[in-house]
């Protein structure tokens, strides 16, 4: 299987009483009361350094995403970050996973096809093309997209990008939302006809349908861990089965928070404050912003109000009283010694049937040095044990860059280290 390191680029020093003083971490946290551009510059550089460190430590891929007006993640242009990452990881067998540029808010959407083309060329064909719908906060509230048109606009943007990649002829696009008289991409991606496409989602049936219809990889990006994740992924696999697709585990991606220390006790000591920070502050999002009227179509709205919302609300209300143990028991975070993490992560991967795992290794306020330690321990003590998961079943990861098929970044990293040692560096 493949395990990639995900980064959100959070502001790491929000005030201790942030969640009491402000109504939301997203959309309206006042920048000048909370943040300092010089610190932000430091965070961007740390974020890049941490991801590059992960690549050099042997991670299979490195991921960034897009959010706006959000103190827990503010890479408004993930492709600016991706550009640095692509350049800095040349020579490694590490995928550049853009999770990614938000389709309905990138106008015209062929901008995504162009920038992904650039990244694929710069990286020598190592790009994974994430195609996010975008959250209501980002797309409707920050970028003004009419909620009831959000998904339709996304589908059109996707179809336009795919056609722009697949078509060898210049074509005119007369869509409902986008009208382009002569689509003729420069550059074209190295990966032909197009890089693998991953669709991030939050469990809605319409996204499963969409990913299945186009044979893309579906990634359930949740901060609530693999226990809740299982409910969603069971539904996904049931759906895959009903649709008549093969149960290839690489069809699915999942995001899990993971922290590793020398011992279980040390993990609690070192990481708990940052876990607290993440769930208390980073996920302090105004309910009304998450429920923008019109964002969900009527049937999804009815489904989430009747089925998902009550469950989520109860859970989110209880997090405030949780102790470290509750985060672990509920598997929001997999934490502990390398042996503990290996064991729990293996169970999670198997029960979710996930081939393309993403791990969040920098969490909330976690400082740079501690993040590097987490990456280092994860890459050395955990990652190697997962390399052959799913191999015995003979599944092929169709959603991984062709140039990296059959290669393992950790092997490349080790080979580079040996050759550097021989050269006496």
């Amino acid at each position: 299987m493949k395990i990639s390191m995900f980064h959100l680029m959070p502001y790491r020093e929000l005030p201790a009483d942030f969640e009491k003083r402000y109504q939301s971490v997203w959309v309206d946290p006042p920048f000048w009361e909370l943040a300092d551009p010089a610190k932000v510059g430091q965070y961007y550089n740390w974020t890049l350094d941490e991801l590059i460190y992960g690549a050099k430590a042997g991670m299979d891929g490195i991921c960034v995403n897009e959010h706006h007006q959000n103190a827990y993640g503010f890479m408004p242009s993930p492709n600016l970050m991706g550009s640095v990452l692509a350049r800095a990881t040349n020579g490694l067998d590490c995928a550049v996973v853009q999770m990614g540029a938000t389709l309905p808010t990138t106008i015209p959407p062929i901008r995504v096809a162009e920038e992904y083309g650039m990244l694929d060329c710069i990286s020598g064909g190592r790009l994974v093309a994430g195609m996010p719908l975008g959250t209501p906060m980002d797309a409707n509230l920050c970028y003004g997209i009419t909620p009831i048109e959000h998904r339709e606009r996304y589908y059109e943007a996707h179809d336009l990008i795919m056609k722009a990649w697949k078509s060898r002829e210049i074509f005119a696009w007369n869509g409902k939302y986008f009208k382009l008289p002569m689509v003729n991409l420069w550059p074209r991606p190295i990966q032909q006809p197009h890089p693998p496409v991953w669709i991030p989602g939050s469990g809605s049936l319409s996204t499963w349908d969409f990913a299945a219809k186009h044979d893309h990889c579906y990634c359930f990006l949740s901060y609530y861990g693999n226990n809740l994740g299982k409910r969603v992924m069971d539904g996904f696999w049931e759906f895959v089965d009903k649709t008549g697709l093969d149960p290839n585990p690489y069809r699915a991606g999942f995001l899990q928070l993971v922290v590793v220390a020398e011992t279980d006790a040390k993990a609690e000591r070192e990481y708990y404050p940052h876990i607290r920070y993440f769930y208390d502050k980073c996920l302090h999002i105004l309910n009304e912003y998450q429920m923008v009227p019109g964002n969900q179509d009527y049937r999804s709205l009815a489904n989430s109000v009747k089925n998902l919302l009550p469950m989520q609300t109860d859970l989110i209300n209880s997090i405030g009283n949780w102790k470290y143990k509750d985060f672990i028991d509920n598997q929001f975070v997999i934490a502990g010694s390398p042996a503990t993490v290996r064991d729990q992560l293996m169970q999670a991967v198997k029960k979710l049937r996930v081939g393309n795992l993403m791990v969040l290794l920098q969490i909330g306020s976690m400082p740079h040095e501690l993040t590097l330690k987490n990456i280092d321990l994860f890459a050395r003590e955990v990652l190697p044990h997962f390399r052959n998961v799913w191999d015995e079943d003979g599944w092929e990861n169709k959603w991984w860059p062709k140039a990296l098929q059959g290669k393992v970044n950790a092997d490349r990293v080790a080979a580079l280290a040996r050759s550097e040692a021989r050269a006496g560096k």
Partner: protein, 261 residues
Amino acid sequence: MAATSEKTLKLWDGKVTAHVKVAGAGPALVYLHSGYGLVWDATLDLLARDFTVYAPEHPGTSANDPDAIKPLDDVWDLVLHYYEMFDQLGLEAPAVMGHSFGGMVAAELAANNPRRVSRLVLVNALGLWRDDAPIANYMVMPEAQLEKLMFADAHNPARKHIFMNLEDPESIIRVTWALGCAGKFSWPIPDKGLRKRTHRIAAPTLIVWGKQDGLTKPVYADEFKRLIPNARIELIDKAAHMTPLEQPAALARAVREFLKP
């Protein structure tokens, strides 16, 4: 409550089924509701004593027909679909009254084809924008903040018509979807260019405004008066944005006065 009947009409080449509540007797008065969906309130009861009130439900907000919103994409489609509705109801040039989001639509109907609207009543209407009085995005506001903008008396029992009951999934779904359907024509800022078209409005216009309106502040009443050729303002005390729910008697009286032949 006045006895209402419902008319069901096929509009927009058969693609939109419109539901219109009808009550009362007398000259025709079309009433366009706010973004929260049609509430048959005391104001409509009072008006039904003197008028035949036609209260269409905004496309998508009728029970069991959420998809009626789909074929109409922009204000222009919405306006034309209403002219088709007038045709089917046999209304050549009715008086049109609109509240909040419905006020914006009413003004568009009177501006796009001035011959289709004989009198215009705007009640705490959306549709314009002033940088010195920005209109809050009421669709995503927590209740505790919104109630201060919407009601002069935050304890007004009529609040139950616009604030969803979180214990009742049906209420959450109904209100959320109604706002989503209004948002199709008003997101993210309820200014879709009406200002360019108001000079075309020929109908004598009554602008009624809750004095304590915190959402569309009374400067918007002044702004509508400035932009519409033949308009006058009536301010209503002890009312904020939800005047039809807050001061039905005063509102109905003002409208009756204005529409008197």
